[in-house]
């Protein structure tokens, strides 16, 4: 159960629409089931009241949609942003992706979102509805007579368990109270991998990445992937490849994708959320974030507008590439 209720958000949206502060609303829309929430633009009070949702499945990061949605509107577009979304929001503004003046941001506090895949693990197939109250999910399935109770904390998405910040770094208006940047264990998994031998790591990634079906969902949802045309879709780039033909190309795609967003990735975790094959793609991005923090000083993309990404910056005293392994070997 989130601290702010669906009704509060709807009233906020309706009043801003009524006051002509905004002309449309970007938010989460009802799907077939309670858990398949999708992003949508609402243009009227009626649409908002009918379809707008705010529950434990509103994980989608709305920032990226502003690129296409903010330019076409008359007046402003209202967007609801969770703390982690605001980092992407700032990063996109840093990269001049939309006009800040066209957007009205309402910041929404977030207690973490549920991972449907984890619920399914607990409750089995045939889920028909999920209600939540006081951080307990009541899951009704086709195969059980009474609803199954699951604490939200048991089924939190990985990125929410390791939430890096409850603080909104950008907004026009804040609902409820703002939180703080948190000490999270988000690099623990990365450290575990680093501690393995090269063979073990190779096995691990071979196993993970070989499942990739190149659906491009990670790329399409990523707020840092905002190219007009991706290099992998561009025949003249020399690396066009729309489907991985072998185990190398799976890696090529993911290494290059991670490299292209390195220093710009805010660690919003959308890539892993949308991956239909459950590949822990965030572990690639977090590796870069961890390296950047260690080599070039703590850096959080999107913390402020206009920050210079670490890979477009340098100091004359930067660590030598050969030193990084030396340092790690001596640390270990």
């Amino acid at each position: 159960m989130q601290v702010i209720t669906r009704e509060q958000l709807i009233e906020k949206a309706v009043s801003l629409l009524a006051a002509n502060t905004v002309s449309c609303v970007l938010g989460w829309s009802r799907g077939e089931f309670d858990y398949d929430v999708s992003p949508a633009v609402f243009r009227s009070e009626e649409e908002v009241r009918r379809n707008f949702v705010w529950n434990d499945f509103c994980g989608a990061n709305m920032s990226k949609y502003l690129i296409s949605k903010a330019s076409g509107v008359d007046g402003k577009i209202l967007v609801f942003l969770k703390p982690c979304d605001t980092y992407s929001f700032n990063q996109l503004l840093t990269e001049h992706k939309f006009d800040r003046e066209k957007v009205y941001v309402v910041a929404v506090p977030c207690d973490g979102m549920a991972d449907f895949r984890l619920i399914k693990k607990v409750c089995g197939e045939g889920i028909i509805s999920i209600d939540s109250e006081d951080a307990i999910l009541k899951v009704k399935t086709l195969y059980s007579d009474s609803p199954i109770s699951v604490p939200l904390t048991d089924v939190l998405a990985e990125r929410c368990k390791n939430c890096k910040s409850k603080k909104h770094v950008a907004y026009d208006e804040l609902l409820g109270e703002d939180g703080n940047v948190l000490e999270s264990g988000r690099f623990d998994e990365v450290k575990k991998l680093e501690a393995m031998t090269a063979e073990e790591r190779f096995e691990f990634w071979q196993n993970e990445l070989s499942r990739c079906i190149r659906c491009n969902a990670c790329r399409d949802v990523c707020p840092a992937c905002t190219c007009e045309k991706c290099v992998f879709n561009n025949p003249s780039s020399g690396v066009e490849n729309k489907a991985a033909a072998n185990s190398f190309e799976e890696k090529l795609f993911h290494i290059i994708r991670a490299f292209h967003v390195a220093g710009r990735c805010t660690d919003c975790g959308e890539c892993s959320r949308v991956c239909p094959q459950n590949i822990p793609l965030h572990l690639l991005n977090r590796k870069f974030i961890k390296d950047i923090n260690e080599f070039y000083g703590e850096y959080q993309a999107g913390e402020e507008i206009g920050l210079r990404a670490p890979l477009t910056d340098y100091t004359t005293e930067d660590i030598e590439p050969c030193e990084i392994f030396h340092r790690r070997d001596t640390d270990a």
């Binding site: 001049h96 992937c225 905002t226 190219c227 007009e228 290099v231 561009n234 003249s236």
Partner: protein, 664 residues
């Protein structure tokens, strides 16, 4: 597919000794696109080049590969050959089979095998080459010099003498800079004014030079050869063209208690003032913060006494726009603030002064008319302590000091000590030093003279503490050689303050997209080989804005900067290197990463309207590369995630083709 010709050079036995050139030519015949392949003893000879030309004509070749020595040797030669034969010079690729093959491998089989692969890589690249034409841009034949100190003056004079118009922009009411404030100059002890003021007059009278004094650069747009500059002429409330500099207004002005900047606040000036007698332009300026008329509308005496009618209280800041082909930064330096050096009691005692203040105290035109008197009580000091390296070579605290050596302090301190002993033999002079650095013509001799002939006490050590006590200054210092702590009762303490770039340098660098180091000195295009150029094309560096310098060095750098400017302005058109970055606007998403890594500021962004296939239009921010400024390093190409940025002559597909050919 290109029609490619391959020419394998023997280089006598240099190549042919370890590489089977015939086999190489034969093997490359089968590569895609190759229609002709041959070998010859010396491809770079006239006969070799003629052979290439004949083959280009005879086989209708579109591109050629020469397997020979390093492209650093003969790429230019073969490009010229290609051009003479009527194909684009950039359709030539060199396979380096001498320096990187025959000379480093001993075995014929290995050498031949590698030469073939290198040849294949070159063929693969040529297949993707496109004809390139260097861009041309016109040159505005006028230079802008920012800063009117000795550096700016010398640069302007040298450019103007070569026949090009020059404008000098100076923020102060007069040109002359720091040198005008100096007394004598080391090591020859000429009087600074005697050698500087004739140059200032020369500037004023030069038909090719305009002086914008009391002015600032407020905006710079454009690029090498074509800068558009907006200059703000601050209102001086005096009509510059009418004022005769008679000084009547200065004399009659009732507001006389304004600290005189020129004498570093050691005496006062009036609200309407001429900084010093030899000022250029010699016109009065009204200080709007001090003038009663401008502040309260009461007074107006200066207007009444001005017979020329030059006073104009209604004057407003004026903006003028001008075009320039080259810009020289000569923004100079300032001594750092002594406020943070509590141990030397600078803010507690008037008798602790900086070396620049000492210059004014000993200057005949200074507040004491050249008599060395203590600022506190006007008495003659008998014991003077000079402290060197105050704030220089200080890595402990960046807010306090500077890590670098300020370079000029050792010499001017020796000068001050020597002149003091010369004029006032009854004074005891101590100089505390860490190292005495005197590299320069006649510099060390000068310093030794101060010690040996003038009896200056040079003490290796540092002053730790200065305490004002009565009329004395208690100086506690170390003498490292005697291994003693000294206690001196001094009458005057002179601090050799570190120098730092003028505060105006940083905003100027931003406007110029010129780079600076962490100390706010301008960075050179190359520290050894291009020391007077900024990495930003068309921007040159003169004087201390590039690093600490004494006068002779400043003047020689000023001349060097001028010669670079003259070289640029002498051209009618700038021909660029065509191997530069290009941005594909359809793919660019305007993220602006490329601009951040460009050391030359060659990339700009604009909102552009695109017509989409569905006949709608969309406005997007896209990058564009200024061909006159881009140097072709390719940093932007890797930063660009979408691959919209590419580098002519070294395109992504070309390099990948080479990789593929090598790894096949």
């Amino acid at each position: 597919m290109q029609r490619i010709g391959v020419f394998v050079c023997w280089c006598g036995s240099n190549i042919a000794g370890t590489v089977d050139v015939k086999a190489v030519a034969e093997a490359l015949k089968n590569e895609p696109g190759v229609v002709f392949s041959t070998n010859y003893q010396y491809m770079c000879s006239q006969a070799g080049q003629d052979m290439i030309k004949a083959a280009i004509a005879g086989h209708k070749l579109g591109g050629i590969v020469v397997c020979s020595c390093s492209p650093r040797m003969h790429e230019a030669t073969f490009r010229k050959t290609a051009s003479q034969a009527g194909i684009n010079p950039y359709m030539v690729e060199i396979a380096n089979i001498r320096e990187q093959c025959s000379w480093v491998h001993k075995d014929m089989a290995t050498g031949t095998e590698k030469a073939i692969i290198l040849g294949k890589a070159a063929v693969a690249k040529v297949n993707l080459n496109t004809p390139l034409t260097p861009g041309e841009s016109p040159v505005t034949k006028r230079a802008l010099v920012i800063g009117g100190g000795i550096a700016g003056i010398q640069t302007a004079l040298d450019i103007a003498d070569a026949g090009f118009p020059v404008d000098i922009v100076e923020t102060k009411p007069t040109i002359g800079g720091k040198m005008a404030q100096l007394d004598k100059t080391f090591p020859t002890l000429d009087c600074a004014a005697c050698i500087l003021t004739p140059k200032m007059v020369e500037v004023a009278q030069h038909e090719n030079i305009r002086i914008f004094s009391y002015s600032e650069v407020s905006e710079i747009k454009g690029f090498v050869g074509n800068f558009d500059v907006t200059i703000k002429r601050k209102a001086r409330y005096v009509k510059e063209d009418i004022c005769t500099g008679c000084g009547a207004c200065v004399e009659k002005c009732p507001m006389k208690k304004i600290p005189n900047e020129f004498n570093l606040g050691m005496d006062n000036r009036s609200a309407v003032y001429i900084p010093f007698a030899q000022a250029v332009p010699k016109v009065a300026t009204i200080d709007p913060n001090a003038c009663n008329m401008l502040k309260n509308g009461r007074c107006g005496i200066c207007a009444k006494v001005c017979t020329a009618g030059a006073i104009d209280y209604t004057q407003k800041d004026e903006y003028i726009e001008e075009k320039y082909g080259a810009i020289v930064a000569a923004t100079g330096f300032n001594p750092i603030s002594m406020d943070k050096f509590d141990e030397f009691a600078y803010s507690q005692s008037k008798d602790v002064i900086t070396s620049l203040e000492f210059e004014r105290l000993t200057n005949a035109a200074g507040p004491t008319a050249g008599k060395l008197l203590r600022p506190s009580d006007g008495k003659h000091p008998h014991t003077i302590v000079f402290v060197q390296c105050v704030g220089s070579r200080c890595s402990a605290c960046t807010e306090k000091g500077k890590e670098y050596c300020s370079k000029i302090c050792c010499m001017y301190t020796a000068k001050h000590a020597m002149l003091t002993r010369d004029k006032y033999p009854d004074t005891e002079v101590y100089v505390f030093y860490i190292d005495v650095r005197t590299p320069g013509k006649n510099f060390d001799e000068f310093y030794r003279r101060a010690v040996e002939e003038y009896g200056v006490n040079y003490i290796k050590g540092m002053v730790g503490k200065v305490t004002p006590e009565g009329s004395k200054l208690k100086v506690q210092a170390s003498d490292l050689i005697a291994n003693k702590q000294l206690h001196i009762d001094a009458d005057l303490v002179v601090l050799a303050a570190a120098i730092e770039p003028d505060k105006s340098a940083r905003p100027l660098a931003t406007m110029l997209t010129a780079s600076m180091d962490t100390n706010d000195f301008f960075t050179e295009a190359h520290p050894k080989l291009r020391p007077v150029e900024s990495p930003t094309a068309g921007v040159f560096l003169s004087g201390t804005c590039q690093g600490p310098k004494d006068i002779p060095e400043t003047v020689s750098q000023a001349g060097a900067a001028a010669s670079k400017v003259i070289g640029l302005l002498a051209k009618d058109k700038l021909t660029g290197n065509p191997c530069i970055a290009k941005s594909d606007e359809w793919m660019c998403n305007g993220c602006s990463s490329c601009g951040k890594v460009c050391a030359y500021g060659a990339i700009t962004y604009e909102e552009k309207e695109f017509r989409l296939p569905d006949r709608t239009t969309k406005i997007r921010r896209v990058a564009s590369v200024n061909p006159a400024v881009c140097q072709g390093c390719g940093a932007c190409t890797v930063t660009c995630p979408s691959g919209a940025m590419d580098l002519n002559g070294f395109t992504t597909t070309q390099i990948m083709a080479e990789v593929d050919a090598i790894c096949k």
